[in-house]
Symmetry: C2
Subunit: 196 residues, 2 copies
């Protein structure tokens, strides 16, 4: 097992190229992308500390590998599959851990999926802002967010400006300051199911 380091914006895995390693992220953030035939590129998910990368390829002989690009510096473990594949697949503790990770991943995806179909951007953006804000400050890159929420830049900005007009957010140079988190919460809560 090696410890590896990737710089910001480096590709850990190229789309379509089966990786030879299983990665476990110690520190940093990354993004998973897929490209469609018409050239459209879609941001599928974020990867954070304690996530696995390449677990699909460990488990499935046939699998279309998505691209993984770092968005900060990343430090991770890299376990060579050719050597440890069999051993990993016989290790109960590892399997249990991986199963938990995958079940969370599947659940979150299912949630995002049904939310994306059921609610307009207004609600999903409110949720995203609250989830990614650092205290009162929201400062994600617009382009990345559009990708992630799967909407056009134009429409995204339209809704963001509305939030400002309504006084939910205040634009401060490069950042946005959350002014009425209660209003945002009301919008975001619509996404939640009855359990909350």
């Amino acid at each position: 097992m090696e410890v590896r380091e990737y710089k910001r914006d480096e590709w850990i895995i190229r789309e379509g190229m089966r990786p030879d390693y299983l990665y476990y992220v110690i520190e940093g953030k990354a993004k998973i992308y897929v490209t469609y035939q018409n050239g459209k590129v879609s941001l599928i998910n974020f990867i954070n500390a304690h996530d696995y990368i390449g677990e699909m390829e460990l488990l499935n002989e046939v699998y279309y590998t998505k691209g993984v690009q770092t968005s900060t510096k990343i430090i991770c473990f890299a376990i060579p599959l050719h050597h440890y594949r069999t051993r990993l697949l016989e290790d109960t503790t590892f399997l249990r851990e991986l199963t938990k990770f995958l079940s969370m991943k599947a659940t979150k995806m299912a949630e995002k999926y049904s939310q994306s179909l059921s609610f307009p951007l207004e609600n999903r953006l409110a949720d995203f802002i609250l989830q990614t804000a650092d205290g009162e400050i929201y400062k994600e890159k617009h382009v990345t967010v559009c990708d992630f929420l799967g909407v056009s830049y134009r429409h995204f900005l339209h809704v963001l400006v509305q939030f400002c007009d309504k006084g939910y957010l205040l634009k401060e140079g490069r950042h946005y300051c959350i002014r009425q988190s209660d209003a945002l919460h009301r919008l975001a809560d619509v996404l939640k199911n009855e359990s909350f």
Copy 2:
């Protein structure tokens, strides 16, 4: 371990009620639903033979249980969790099998998610029709499909009628007959990524 049978339209798991069993489907089909605060109900996924039900609750202490309703008669194994939970979580063969199942589930969800955001109903419906058609005959219930694809009945029908107008489909009483599968394939192929 028991063998259980559920009739059509029965609820195997009620939303929000933690199940006491892990199920493995031998035969039949079911649907997973979630209800939002505003009362909107969303069909998240289909369950088919060889799928697990309740695996999330086996793995995660905290998990909001989705509702599962049969759409045909279902025959399944039911494994009582209070008795076998620990043993299951130590069984390598079972864990490996479950991990594979979950990785497929996560992948499919991710695919559906990014597709739903990236393409209009026209493409997604073409894909759905081809995937669920029995030979040349498509006969899913409109209401269920709307739910699944996350669009209004009105819009769904609008697009379906277009397919008929264009001669892709021919309405025959209750069913639809696929007349130009090539045209549908062209629409559906846009969803595929470069790997295909």
